[in-house]
Point group: C2
Chain length 286, copies 2
């Protein structure tokens, strides 16, 4: 179905046209990968903005109507709603359509869908590591996925062709695709994305008024992601809470080591942890 060199979709439906969904639509249209992007949403105003942004060509409030005739459907709703939306998409779209999602957690979604979808449904889960603290269709950006990592999480029943088609779709937007099981994804992403969100949010939340005058770039960098949408993030953290709690435990342990070194005035121990942190950070780019 999808050729790596040049894909073309007859009609793409995007469920949830926020930052991620809107950016996908813009990319597909601007790169000439389709001429027809149906934006499906729950609020007229969001759909209007998405259309004005050039992210979709038509819009509808009715999911079942929006996916008719689509050969690619991307579900970009909040993680708590993805499984149900995929089920509704699968029931209403052509049986040959390729379906993926953009959820930040994967195991719960895959577990909920595995076995409950029609046997012919071509669903493969995805997580594009893009976006950040902005949200909504007004933040949609062409090229958002260029050089970004997308994790594709095939399940036990996934056909290799479908996995390849979903990978090729993300590659057609410029992304690098990594393949993982849903469980592995959730465990690793807890440390690289969900824990940083907790760490940054706690830092912003414990800031007192009198500190505002002395806020500089370090604080701003360290807390940037705390500006993310609380309603979306509480879902992500809650859905992945077992792995998040494990990652948080590791973090608390290092903080306790730092506290201990400070309390004992042990500069060597302090420097050792800072050095380990610097080495890890330096190895991962700027």
């Amino acid at each position: 179905v999808a050729k790596r060199s040049k894909q073309h979709w007859e009609r793409v439906a995007i469920v949830g046209v926020g930052l991620i969904g809107g950016s996908i639509g813009k990319d597909l249209l601007e790169r000439g990968l389709t001429r027809d992007v149906v934006g499906i949403g729950r609020r007229e105003s969001t759909l209007r903005t998405a259309k004005k942004m050039g992210a979709v060509t038509t819009t509808t409030l009715t999911l079942e109507r929006g996916v008719v005739g689509a050969d690619l459907i991307i579900v970009c709703t909040p993680v708590g709603r993805i499984a149900e939306d995929v089920r509704r998409v699968a029931a209403a779209c052509p049986p040959t359509a390729l379906i993926t999602d953009a959820g930040s957690t994967k195991a719960a979604i895959v577990a909920e869908l595995e076995g409950s979808l029609p046997a012919e449904t071509r669903f493969v889960g995805s997580h594009p590591l893009a976006g950040g603290e902005k949200s909504g269709p007004a933040a949609a950006t062409a090229g958002l996925f260029v050089d970004r990592t997308v994790v594709v999480t095939p399940g036990a029943n996934t056909r290799l062709d479908d996995e390849r088609a979903v990978s090729d779709f993300w590659k057609s937007l410029g992304a690098k695709v990594v393949r993982m099981t849903a469980d592995e994804h959730d465990r690793v992403i807890a440390a690289t994305s969900h824990l940083p969100h907790l760490a940054a949010s706690a830092l912003a939340a414990c800031m007192k008024k009198d500190g505002q005058a002395l806020v500089a770039r370090g604080w701003l960098d360290t807390t940037r992601i705390a500006a993310g949408d609380p309603a979306l993030w509480k879902q992500i953290l809650q859905v992945n809470r077992a792995h998040v709690l494990t990652a948080l435990g590791r973090y608390e342990k290092v903080l306790a080591l730092l506290r201990d070194a400070l309390e004992r005035g042990d500069e060597a121990a302090l420097e050792q942890i800072l050095l380990e942190a610097k080495r890890t950070r330096d190895a991962l780019g700027s």
Copy 2:
């Protein structure tokens, strides 16, 4: 002595020509605020780089020789060495010279110097909130202080004229000057700079190898300052450890609230903390 509109220094001596000292030198020369900047350092190679960067006009390894004839001296050495360097500067420079420093902690330095300097010495402590994870003279940048905050910390014996002269010096480099006592500075900066350094370093240090493939912008932003020089930061954290431990305690408390909300599956409590964090973050710029 210093007029706000256009200052001019006969000869400026900078003790420690790393990122901060080097940037000050570049600014002074490029803005025509002096023609003569003496770079004082402990390593020939650093001084050579500073000269090549256009940060200083002459260099010396001997502090006492470097400050002869200077009317402005800025001590930009690591916090653990500043008090001693200021004492040496005061003993060797003209008695009319204005002296300041660029240390990230202030109370210990001011306390150590207060009363122990010659009565006529014109020393006022400063902390420019600029710099970051890079260090060394090769990172020196003209305009580094433009729109950045510099805290000036007059002590009980500081003459108003001297405080004003130091403030005007920083303003001549484009900085915004905030006046605080050294103690107040150290308490507030512990929360806005030193705690973020611990939080970012702990995040980088607790990262496992398998997470590297899924590192994205959020992790990179949140951990950026962990790339700072461990030898400098262990001193800063150690010197200000009482305030740092208090700030760390506040942070640990919020993390414990987040943990508790996750463990109990209390999404409302989770969202409340995330919302508070977002409000604080949104209010403080991007």
